[in-house]
């Protein structure tokens, strides 16, 4: 009973993650500037990678035919998911800060840019 529940929950997370990955890739093409694309990338990182990894761990735990191998797979899947959750935003922070400081990516269109205002790049917007 519990095994079946873990299996179906894991399958939902895995297949849902694949669908969300496709949508995030579409968003990557439809958004027209660097910062907006960063948001689409976040969608792909959390629902598209972390959740499917949790799902993979649940599926392997539910498959008793795997014997003790299922604990290896589940352990690796869960810890990788948690590390991805902790480290994915670090990469986003680095890219976003680098893009803004080097002014390689112009945040257009934008309503207000408080960071540029405070750095004195473009007076009041």
């Amino acid at each position: 009973m519990l095994g079946a529940l873990a299996y179906y929950l894991g399958m939902i997370l895995l297949i849902g993650g694949g669908i969300v990955d496709v949508l995030a890739a579409i968003g990557m093409n439809r958004f027209r500037n660097f910062y907006l694309r960063l948001h689409a990338a976040t969608v792909g990182a959390i629902w598209g990678a972390v959740y499917p990894l949790f799902g993979l761990g649940l599926i392997s735990l539910s498959l008793s035919a795997l014997g003790s191998v299922r604990f290896y797979i589940a352990g690796i899947a869960f810890t990788t998911a948690i590390f991805l959750l902790l480290t994915a935003p670090v990469g986003s922070h680095a890219i976003a800060q680098g893009a803004h400081r080097s002014r390689e990516a112009v945040p257009e269109p934008i309503v207000v840019d408080r960071l540029a205002e405070d750095e004195g790049v473009i007076g009041g917007a």
Binding site: N33, V43, A88, A96, V112, R114, D118
Partner: protein, 167 residues
């Protein structure tokens, strides 16, 4: 004495992490885990921990668990659905880089808030001003451009839990 306590405090969590990762409880893995954890703790414990008592405070761990469950279900679902909607109607995006003040002290709390903001689609921390205590957040659908209003919409929940977990 204090250095020794810090050094010893980091070993059990590292052993637990190693055993969770390998998914095995054999004597060989346990011995390897303890050796590796000792070396890593010797190298990095003084940089990672300043108050070992907090690491073993069950109330903080309980808040961390509550926050993890709340964050991974409700908060992420709301943020993902709003950004997935925007993918189909990109013209409804209203991007802005807003200034969001924070009032926590420790590096861990600041990191937790910044990571939580970035991990929710729709908001990305672009820069942090640690002297004046501001996050600069790129917000895909800015509904409130004032500092207090943006904080209420984006980071207030994270800050409340970061204070309970790390401060």
């Amino acid at each position: 004495m204090r250095k020794l306590a810090i050094f010893l405090a980091l070993i059990p969590p590292l052993v637990a992490l190693y055993l969770l990762y390998t998914g095995s409880l054999s004597l060989f893995e346990l011995a390897l885990a303890i050796i590796i954890a000792t070396v890593i703790s010797y190298l990095f414990s003084s940089a990672l921990i300043s108050r070992p008592g907090r690491l073993y405070n069950p109330i903080r761990w309980a808040w961390a668990l509550i926050f993890a469950i709340l964050y991974l279900t409700v908060v992420e679902a709301k943020a993902h659905l709003s950004v997935l909607k925007l993918i189909f109607v990109p013209s409804r995006a209203r991007p802005a880089i807003v200034r969001i003040p924070y009032s926590v002290e420790s590096d861990y709390a600041i990191t937790l808030i910044a990571n939580s903001i970035t991990n929710t689609p729709g908001t990305v921390v672009v820069d942090v001003d640690e002297e004046r205590k501001y996050f600069y957040v790129h917000w895909i659908r800015a509904t409130d451009l004032t500092e207090e209003g943006a904080k209420r919409e984006v980071s207030e929940l994270f800050e409340r839990y970061a204070r309970r977990i790390f401060e």
